[in-house]
Amino acid sequence: MRVIAIAQNSFREAVRDKVFVIVAAFGLLMIASSVIMSPLTVGAREKIVADMGLSTVSMFSMLVILFVGSGMVYKEIDKRTITVILSKPVSRLEYMLGKFFGLAATLATMFVAMTGLFWCACALTQVDFEAAFLGSIFLSYMEMLVVTALMILFSSFTTPVLTSLFTLAVYVVGHLVRDLESFALVTGSEALFSAMRVFKTVLPNLDLFNIRNAVVHGFPVAASQILWASAYAVVYAGILLVLSGLIFRRREFR
């Protein structure tokens, strides 16, 4: 219940944030632009409208996490409103969970709005809105939940700028996880190879959530793939949130 109250408050705070409105508006504009661009695609209309819709949903929600989410905890510390909240029977973990679910709800709202507009763009350009698109969008959302949990972890001990930078860095590496070992193999260094294996194990494998190419080209995606990737996201985000609660518990506010 306490988590829900904090989440509701964080959600309200996030959707009222001007940066959120601007990023969301640009995302919606980008999807809408696919309608204008579709006549210029020289036969590739369906692919391009689908690519634009699916990629925009994912990219712009990442921007929301970086610009809106990274300052959520810090703002409360800076304005000292956190002392009011934590003086009540609310644990530090509950506070972090509330922040996480608040941002998750904000992202869900954005995903729904963007998916709605993507559907409209498909209808206007006479592109079939495949059910598989929803599968891809759902996996993008799961990916963003992992990134949100990462952001919550970093915001438990550092400033908004560093939180954004660290989150972005892990996001980038998370998409290159598969290449890490091959990179180490090229260098020929045993130590680097071992380090890369550790990175590969510890860092989130964000490529798991990318089925955009398959969906756009009409290749079948197994429901089990979506299910397992989602389970991985839930467990990974859970670990990060518990860690953020542990770190945040040691933090002192003056």
Binding site: M37, L40, T41, V42, G43, A44, K47, I48, D51, M52, L54, S55, S58, M59, Y171, V172, H175, L176, D179, L206, D207, N210, R212, N213, V216, H217
Partner: protein
């Protein structure tokens, strides 16, 4: 009110100045139109940098391909980097069927490089084995550019054999097969079209061709003239 008007006047003046400066800056540009293409990063780098959005990056590059081709048609620059651009696009998204098709047409017809066009289509066929369009395009290039009926027939037949291929892939195979001397194959293909097509007009024509070929093959009749003279094949019916 006065200050608002003054501000608007200032914006207008600055806008005119910016426009004039833009013209000057363009006149002194060191980079040529195609320089962004010349120094474009490799597909390998773009793939890593796209962070899972390589198909979307391929689309953005695809717009550049079309723009580059249009600029070349308009006489703005050469077409030297077209191949490289297309190569990057299909490297990023190997399933991008329309890119193979369009690029092959440009290579064969505008750049005078039909061999490269067919090589590109063959690369596309490896990545898209379920596409009948790609072998069809290869057959079309052999038929219209090389005027090699035998090779065209092989490609059209390959296209026609792909499950879900359009009727006109079979029609091309049937026509060109006849021209290339494969009257039996042509006969079978026309029979198949007559049996399976939803198009009444096409079915009627197919029945006529089957009759003509039957005469030639099994009753000692004359070889139909459409097998010996080049003709335009209607694609829209």
């Amino acid at each position: 009110m006065r200050s608002t008007l003054a501000s608007l006047g200032a914006v207008l003046l600055l806008g005119i100045a910016a426009g004039a400066l833009l013209e000057q800056a363009r006149a002194h540009e060191n980079l040529r139109v195609e320089d962004d293409i010349k120094y474009m990063p490799s597909a390998e780098f773009l793939r890593a940098a796209s962070l899972g959005h390589e198909s979307f990056v391929a689309d953005l590059l695809w717009f550049r391909v079309i723009q580059y081709y249009g600029e070349w048609r308009g006489g703005d620059h050469g077409i030297d980097f077209f191949e490289n651009l297309v190569d990057t696009v299909v490297e990023l998204d190997p399933k991008f069927e329309d890119a193979y098709r369009f690029a092959a047409q440009v290579m064969a017809e505008d750049m005078g490089a039909p061999e490269k066009a067919i090589a590109l289509l063959e690369r596309g066929m490896q990545e898209n084995p379920k596409s009948w369009w790609l072998p069809f395009e290869a057959g079309f290039i052999e038929y219209t550019v090389h005027m090699d009926d035998a090779k065209a027939f092989v490609w059209f037949q390959k296209a026609a054999a792909v499950p879900g291929a359009s009727d006109f892939a079979r029609r091309f195979a049937a026509f060109v097969g006849g021209r290339a001397g494969h009257l039996e194959v042509s006969y079978e293909l026309w029979k198949y079209i007559a049996r399976t097509t939803d198009n009444d007009d096409l079915r009627q024509r197919a029945i006529e061709y089957v009759g003509e070929l039957e005469e030639a093959l099994y009753r000692g009749g004359p070889v139909p003239d459409w097998t010996t003279r080049r003709r335009v094949i209607q694609m829209d019916s």
